[in-house]
């Protein structure tokens, strides 16, 4: 369950108006537990290739967005100055990391990646400070990288490949529709989440579905 205060405020926000920033923040029932199908009981067809690209880690070292091949990646695109949906999404990522830590067999085969699309502000140093507030210290939790880019020119092709449009908004805000991506070990996007469906239990079920598929024991075979 999401923290009650968070949910209540999200509900207030929804009541105020629809957002330019995102289609719908979660309603109070967003955390209501609808039946989640068992892992492997459904298919997650490949939607498109998952782009790689050169980014910077929290120490400012160049690395590939998806890092070494292997494992399931949950990628969230945010910016740290974001005042509405991005913190909610980061809270969901944190809950996902906590949840995955309870199942080490799954947790060690997945990783979380948060990528900022605001490189001018979100320097590696800023991302390091941001990460410190979110990342679990549990050794059983899957790794969570907080990445940025050297500049707009470097981040632009990555955003284009993921279909993530970012426009300047009032007071320095960056208008965008929040999306997170489930990426398999073959670097294919297998699901795209809005905040409505970015429920950690559901995402972890999707991760398990892909792991079952990769082990050949699930019904969920990509075509």
């Amino acid at each position: 369950m999401r923290p009650a205060v968070l949910l209540g405020l999200a509900a207030l926000a929804f009541g105020a108006a629809a957002l330019a920033h995102d289609a719908h923040p979660p309603r109070p029932e967003a955390a209501a537990v609808f039946p989640i199908p068992p892992p492997g009981s459904y298919r997650l067809p490949a939607i498109k290739p998952a782009a790689r690209g050169s980014v910077l880690d929290e120490a400012g070292r160049p690395r590939d967005l998806l890092g070494d091949a292997g494992g399931i990646t949950v990628l969230a695109l945010i910016y740290t100055r974001c005042g509405d949906v991005c913190p909610l999404a980061s809270a969901d990522m944190a809950r996902l990391q906590d949840l995955a830590a309870t199942d080490p067999a799954v947790g060690r085969r997945m990783r979380l990646v948060t990528l900022s699309f605001d490189p001018e502000h979100d320097t590696p140093e800023v991302m390091r400070d941001f990460a410190a507030g979110w990342r679990s210290a549990d050794p059983l939790a899957p790794p969570w990288a907080f990445l940025t880019a050297p500049g707009r020119a470097e981040i632009a092709p990555i955003l284009a490949a993921y279909g993530q449009r970012v426009d300047g908004g009032p007071n320095g805000a960056l208008n965008h529709v929040f999306r997170a991506f489930l990426i398999d070990s073959g670097c294919r996007v297998r699901n795209i989440y809005s905040l409505d469906f970015f429920e950690p239990a559901l995402v972890l079920t999707d991760v398990r579905t892909l792991l079952l598929e990769e082990s050949g024991s699930g019904e969920a075979q990509d075509r």
Binding site: L6, Y42, K48, W134, R165
Partner: protein, 442 residues
């Protein structure tokens, strides 16, 4: 300064969320109008609509004779208010019907029912003058035989295309997914008695399709059912004389596990259920539809045990006169439902604040024939168009083709402007969608 994350305790995370949501409340401000019948995944217009895009069937000998996306100027301060200001012709006639925006509202996908082409317009670069940027012309082949793409419904990063038919022209239909880039992803066939795909079937599963709409917070999708290409491309007069053909219409709705894309229950809704409108209220777990051949409003809802059922809750006009309900539009506060009937060209307004007992509060004849209705998020502006299908529209003097705009004050409609699509040499206006320059502000 980056927003400080609080990891240590749940209370800490809540504190962070408080700061985040407070900022959001400040940012949001007053109600921001938008049409009420679009996908909940879509970005919203941040002001009153500037434009109404009209997906329009071409008419032989009228203008260029081609299907086209027409931009109507809806800015009341504009010198061209209430006028068509741009035409994006696609070349040829494809039985233009429905369409929809992508989730980021940067593209409008418009479908053709006859040859299964899907036309993708860029509406973000210059919102007043959409440009055709891509045509999907292998829908039947890529989907594994689905045909007659009916509309386009935004999902995160994807589009859901419900089909009406298949390569054989019958009513067996599918839901087809594409990426926002226009690449095929997958196909889900509607359940049938022979292939229920795990669904519980109340009466029969006809496999027909029409609308598809999602209620994200309950992880459910509803689909409705119409008929196949062999019927909808046939002249209506001939069709109605063919008793066997008239049996080949949909009488079902399907409740799906949306995340798994698996059908859960096939509901019996006789009489061709068409448009689906989910209630918007966070406690309102129900949807309305109307049945074209039996002229009834139906309510589909979830009970306390999580079971879904459908029941008729009101007549629309006098069903014995076959008024043929077509488009419906539910207000953002879930209190008012506009219902158009094609044959008598009339719109009826129901008070649906008690969804079990809708009560008609107003009716007005809009024209000799009537199909689509779109309303703004604040419910103050209502737009109507006239065309149903090229071969089903009325003929002669009754073949009025128009877009008419009204203001709604909660009691009656007041004319704002009207456009004669025949006089303007545009064609048969069908699906409407709103645009706004402010959505793409740099």
């Amino acid at each position: 300064m980056p927003m400080a994350g609080i990891r240590a305790t749940p209370l800490g995370r809540s504190t962070l969320a408080f700061g985040a949501a407070s900022a959001l409340l400040i940012m949001t401000g007053p109600v921001r109008p938008d049409e009420t019948c679009q996908s909940p995944y879509m970005a919203k217009i941040t002001g009153i609509e500037d434009f109404v895009y009209v997906w329009t069937l071409g008419v032989d000998g009228l203008g260029d004779g081609s299907d086209k996306l027409v931009t109507i100027d809806a800015r009341e301060t504009s010198a061209t208010f209430g006028k068509p200001i741009h035409v994006a012709s696609v070349g040829g006639r494809h039985e233009a019907h429905h369409g929809g925006f992508t989730d980021d509202r940067r593209q409008f996908w418009a479908a053709g029912l006859s040859d299964s082409r899907i036309f993708i317009f860029d509406v973000a670069t210059r919102p007043a003058t959409p440009q055709l940027v891509k045509v999907i012309d292998d829908f039947v082949e890529r989907s594994g035989g689905a045909a007659g793409p009916h509309g386009a419904y935004a999902l995160p990063g994807r589009m859901l295309i419900p089909s009406l038919s298949n390569r054989h022209g019958t009513g067996r239909a599918a839901l087809v997914e594409y990426s926002n880039e226009g690449d095929y992803v997958t196909t889900h066939w509607l359940p049938t008695d022979a292939e229920p795909n795990g669904a519980r079937i109340e009466g029969t599963a006809d496999g027909y399709g029409y609308d598809a709409r999602v209620l994200p917070r309950r992880n459910v999708m509803l689909t409705s059912s119409f008929t196949g290409l062999e019927n909808y491309m046939r002249p209506l007069g001939d069709l109605m004389k063919d008793g066997e053909a008239m049996k080949r219409f949909g009488h079902t709705m399907v409740l799906w596990d949306f995340h798994a894309r698996q059908p859960r229950t096939v509901l019996s809704v006789p009489g061709v259920p068409l448009e689906i409108r989910w209630a918007w209220g966070p406690q309102n777990t129900y949807a309305f539809t109307s049945t074209a051949l039996t002229a009834k409003l139906w309510l589909v809802r979830e009970d306390e045990r999580g079971a879904w059922s459908a029941k008729p809750v009101a007549d629309i006009g006098d069903p014995s006169t076959l008024p043929v309900p077509v488009d419906i539009s539910l207000s953002a506060d879930d209190r008012t439902l506009f219902v158009d009937t094609f044959m008598d060209g009339t719109t009826r307004v129901f008070d649906v604040s008690d969804p079990d007992t809708p009560r008609q509060i107003y009716e007005k004849k809009i024209g000799s024939q009537l199909n689509m209705v779109s309303q703004s998020w604040d419910g103050k502006r209502i737009y109507y168009t006239s065309s149903l299908l090229a071969n089903w529209d009325k003929t002669g003097a009754e073949n009025e083709q128009f877009l008419k705009a009204y203001g709604w004050n909660g009691k009656e409609l007041a004319p704002r402007f009207a456009i004669d699509f025949t006089a303007e040499r545009l064609g048969r206006p069908h699906m409407m969608a709103f645009g706004a320059t402010s959505l793409y502000a740099k």
